[in-house]
Subunit: 186 residues, 2 copies
């Protein structure tokens, strides 16, 4: 993938994380990325819907990778996921509460409005759920339980980020980390 | 509160639930509500930011009331909250996945962009957390645990709705209901 293409997608991810799909115009993506306007149409001839779908998919891949790296190592799933969520809390605080949920607003704005973006959001969330599920399998959870808890953890972390960004405090995420650990330690 | 005012706010809630803050224009609110354009400026002289902040606050009040009604009665908190979440799953499905999270997109789009709307989102989420907390207190949880779990449940349900709307299926919420019950039954 060319660097310019990648850079346009990353800029789109960052802007939509902060202000959503409808709040982000193509002109702003061009301006923020510093890419020539022609390159936007060259790489994404189908316009905003295409850029967004690909940006969402890239977000999903990158977030899943962050989960995999964050929970890898010797710790069991309960402790590893707890510690990973504490890191997200710090990240949300450090970003000034502008970052931490690249998919949420876009997913809600487009759930019934764009089949193409909705499909990308499903694929992205599935990557996140799978990353948690794999850690649970590695820690000895059964397949069914790992699958269900992969969904549960994704939902809980997603909601925790929403509350932390809204309250301008990492504490909701820290509360989520604490009680999720109780559930996963059973 | 006048009926027209209330109706404009309800229309705003519904539109923003489906397509977010930036995706909803004043003209669309006027058109959907059927209210005369002049009445919009009469009741909300400060424009879109004012309407949104008040709509968010109204959403919070109504959702908190739905939680209170939904979990009231003889059941203990674990069962009552489980059954209430199953009802949300049905509601999200019945709406064609357009409804179920009136605050999410708006909260994310404005967390660092509008102090006024952000404040309304905080108040709204606090009402939701408190509604769950009160049921937990009634079921004998300690004050600290009820407070923390009020936050945890709000985060989890919020994330479950996001996944259910994204996947066009009530099942993520049903999974959330099941495992939350395990945690609350301990």
């Amino acid at each position: 993938m060319s660097n310019i293409r990648e850079h346009i997608l990353q800029t789109t991810c960052n802007l939509m994380e902060k202000q959503g799909y409808h709040g982000t115009g193509l002109n702003e993506i061009v301006k923020e990325s510093g890419a020539p306007k022609g390159s936007l149409y060259h790489y994404f001839p189908e316009g905003k819907e295409q850029i967004t779908a690909e940006a969402v998919w890239q977000s999903g891949r990158m977030t899943a990778k962050r989960i995999q790296n964050g929970v890898s190592g010797g710790s069991n799933a309960a402790k590893a996921i707890h510690d990973f969520i504490l890191n997200i809390a710090d990240h949300v605080e450090t970003s000034g509460f502008a970052a931490g949920s690249p998919l949420t607003a876009v997913a809600m704005e487009t759930a019934t409005k764009s089949e193409r973006i909705n499909l990308a959001c499903r694929e992205a969330y599935t990557l996140l759920e799978t990353a948690f599920k794999e850690k649970l399998l590695e820690s000895g959870f059964t397949k069914t339980k790992a699958e269900e808890l992969g969904t549960f953890i994704t939902a809980t972390v997603e909601g925790g980020i929403i509350l932390s960004r809204t309250y301008h405090s990492g504490n909701p995420l820290r509360t989520v980390a604490k009680h999720l650990k109780v559930l996963l330690s059973q």
